[in-house]
């Protein structure tokens, strides 16, 4: 059943209805609501796990399981789940498991280069509105096709990181050697093809590892392979429909779209698996300058994130090329059901007194958190007035007239900002400069136009604000 159409009642009917609270919820109905929102799992209900409830459990499992299977790669803290999705478009419900990004090393790299790449991947981190954005996996490629070399590279990589690994070789004897080293860490095997599927399936079963099925530009073959492998007993599959950076880009997007629609809209269980994209193909044709390969790899990765990729294999480690990709991933995988705005009102930073600065911003969550983190890092003692702009950023709210002199005046009045300070100086966002005159007319406060970007707040407070407030204090007291 499509995730969006499932109601808590459908689920409630199949629960034990004992209201025993063992799951941590006050009653079975609220547990049902949590299950429908995918905020709880069936295993949290101990009663349901009893033998007599087996039929209900199985029905619920079917009702709640995602049409795109969730596949676990790796073990321990940095284990990654790929797939496990319920909808095609994020607004239909939400996406659950952000596209995992793997960086490659090859078994023909010099040891120093390999170790450095693995370390940089493991340590990659960007802080974005209070969240930490990471890279997720290492893909070890056997470019040598030599089992012993591959064994060496896998071993070196595994020693250097606890990130989950993808072992890449189409040669089963090479793969075998890699699995002998890290099989118990549940690496992802790349890949089973028309030619090697039986050997790869045997390895996947023996090591209990997930397996990529590769059939570039041939969805029919892909479906034949998964149908066969499911019969063979391999259940944790990942689909590789092929990635093309130049000619074939249209095929790539088309294949990803078809597969996701077949899985979710048509409930095709043979195709209900996570999708693997390989932006690394952007390196298959060397440009005059490798910067262009990185440029192309980056935007290819972004397009695949938008078009349903659950896992990406990339080569670049340049921050400028990876940053747009990890931020786009965060954006697309943000839960659209969560509010986009924060409560209007006055927030205090540090220990402000009656001569402290008063600034305002909008109640768009991203704007607010960005400004708040800049005020914090400026170590300022200040008041920040959050004006209701209907959850829209300063620039758009000014353009769309959601943020006007009226709304600012109303906020000053409603939140009694005048009682907090003795001065009447209001610092406004640089992007709201065009309404500064109207604000002065309506509120009687004098406006200081702050920086265009809130990263300039610290500097602004140290210079312009300091100058203005000392004039007032000098003359007023």
């Amino acid at each position: 059943m499509p995730a969006k159409e499932l109601s808590p009642i459908d689920v409630y009917k199949l629960l034990p209805r004992t209201n025993c609270k063992k799951c941590g919820e006050p009653n079975c109905m609220s547990f049902a609501a949590k299950l429908v929102a995918r905020e709880a799992t069936l295993q949290q209900c101990p009663v349901l796990l009893e033998e007599k409830y087996r039929p209900q459990f199985e029905k619920l499992w079917d009702l709640l399981k995602p049409p795109v299977r969730g596949v676990e790669v790796g073990v321990g803290d940095r284990k990654v789940v790929i797939g496990g999705e319920y909808v095609v478009h994020r607004h239909e419900f939400t996406y659950f498991h952000p596209t995992a990004i793997a960086i490659d090393v090859s078994d023909e790299m010099e040891e120093g280069v390999l170790v450095e790449r693995v370390e940089r991947t493991s340590n990659f981190c960007y802080e974005y509105i209070g969240m930490k954005l990471y890279l997720d996996m290492i893909a070890v490629r056997s470019s040598s096709n030599d089992p012993r070399r591959f064994e060496w590279a896998v071993k070196k990589t595994a020693e250097t990181t606890d990130l989950p690994l993808i072992l890449c070789s189409l040669n089963p004897s090479v793969m075998e050697q890699g699995l002998a080293v890290v099989g118990e860490r549940r690496p992802l095997i790349y890949a089973a093809t028309r030619d090697n599927w039986r050997e790869m399936a045997d390895l996947a079963l023996m090591y209990k590892c997930p397996l990529v099925v590769s059939a570039p530009n041939d969805v029919k073959l892909l479906r034949s392979l998964t149908t066969t492998l499911l019969k063979y007993g391999v259940e944790d599959l990942v689909l590789d429909p092929g990635t093309y950076a130049d000619e074939g880009l249209a095929d790539t997007l088309d294949n990803f779209t078809m597969l996701r629609l077949s899985a979710i809209r048509e409930g095709d269980e043979a195709l209900g698996f996570p999708l693997l994209g390989a932006p690394i193909v952007a390196w298959s044709r060397r440009e005059e300058d490798p910067t262009l390969n990185e440029w192309k790899e980056s935007y290819l990765a972004s397009m695949l994130i938008v078009r349903y990729a659950d896992l990406l294999i990339m080569h670049t480690l340049s921050g400028w090329a990876l940053l747009p990709v990890v931020i786009l991933r965060q954006n697309i995988y943000t839960d659209p059901r969560k509010p986009v705005s924060v409560e209007p009102g006055v927030r205090t930073f540090g220990e402000p007194d009656e001569w402290s600065p008063v600034m305002f911003t909008t109640n768009f969550a991203l704007t607010y958190y960005t400004v708040a983190s800049d005020v914090q890092s400026a170590k300022a003692d200040a008041y920040l007035l959050v004006v209701d702009s209907e959850g829209i950023s300063v620039e758009s709210a000014i353009a769309g007239r959601k943020l006007t002199a009226d709304t600012v005046a109303e906020a000053i009045r409603n939140f009694k900002v005048g009682d907090l300070v003795k001065h009447r100086l209001l610092i406004i966002p640089g992007r709201a400069a065009r309404i500064s005159g109207e604000i002065e007319d309506l509120t009687g406060w004098r406006v200081l136009v702050g920086p265009i970007d809130s990263s300039g707040i610290g500097k602004f407070l140290g210079t312009k604000w300091k100058e203005e407030i000392s004039k007032i204090k000098g003359s007023g007291e």
Binding site: E108, M206, Y244, G248, L261, S262, L323, P324, L328, E395
Partner: protein
Amino acid sequence: MNSLKEEKKDRKPVIRLTTELLEMLAKASEIELEDIELDFDELELQLLPGRVRVIPRMAPPEEKPAKLIEVEYAPPKLEYTGRIVEVKLGATRAEGGTRSRSIVIGGETAPAFYLFHTSTPHKPVIAFDVFDTPKVPLAKAVKMHVQEVRDDPAAWARLCIEKFGAEMVNLHLISIDPLIDDTSPEDALKTVEAVLDAVDVPITVGGCGDPVKDLKVFEKIAEATEGERILFNSVTLDMDIEKTAKIINKYGHTVIAFTSMDVNHARELNRKLYEFLPREQIVMDTTTGALGYGLDYAFTVMERARLAALRGDPELQHPLSSGTTNAWAAREAWMTMDPQWEPKLLRGPLWEVTTGLTLLLAGVDYFMMMHPAAVQTLKAVIDELMGGRKEMEPVDWVTLKI
């Protein structure tokens, strides 16, 4: 999958990211190449004594298939009853204007690039931003390309078309803002005429965001340029909608209906416009948030609007416009950051590319953009996608020497 093969005939050149693009990025020669991996022809490996385990081959039990089970695949069947209207931008002499060609956008009957379902009727178009005053702050990565023409909109427009490959010019009359220069409608018209003389492509004329002043200026320009089929940017819910729509209609122009990230507001504005203006003269802009700063909402509002239109909602069946330039509002697009994220001269335009491509996949038909390298990249991707499926041989990246 016969329908897929049909697409093969119209082959387009591969995406060519030339050194020209690199020059666009590197004009100030500040690019430091980081993280470039070297090829090593000779590798000396010290193989550690490995545990070579002999893996017993499992004989597959009888029920396991011994050979590939061949099954069929049919692409998903989709039913869309709606169709996006076609909007013609610009007019040739034969059509009553002075442009060398006009451009049609819209006409979709499926979500963007669902090639298995149907082809894309018209190529999405890219317009270059030109401002009528040098007072508009520009990021350094952008400024360095237009420095010499910042106080001459006509020269700026010519540069965008002749050198940067834009298909349209997107003129912003920022100086008419009463809070900036309060330029008169007469003077604004002179700027528009100068741009129309300088380039022969269709143009867009944008206001300053003041609902009263914009209308005054639009009225003057619309009348004087009757028949040119200019795209006016924009009409909003708080303008005199009736008057604006009547002017656009009377003088044969087109307009962008701008709302801020709300599908219902977009419907409401369109509904009000229909009373006075044919649907074929309306383009829709539901606001573009920058990557990292609202792109998720922008993407979802556009995607929802487009899907609703295709499923038959008659009030949302318009081509989509995106102010992709808003990407530069993200601090990561222009700020100097820790060395590991530099150079910003690459990061900035890539920010615009990522914002643009994301929205291309939501269904945008008309892009307003700013950086030459970003424009070149979007054009190359659009050309490749318009070329359809190519059914190429697999690329072996597993054994690739990088």
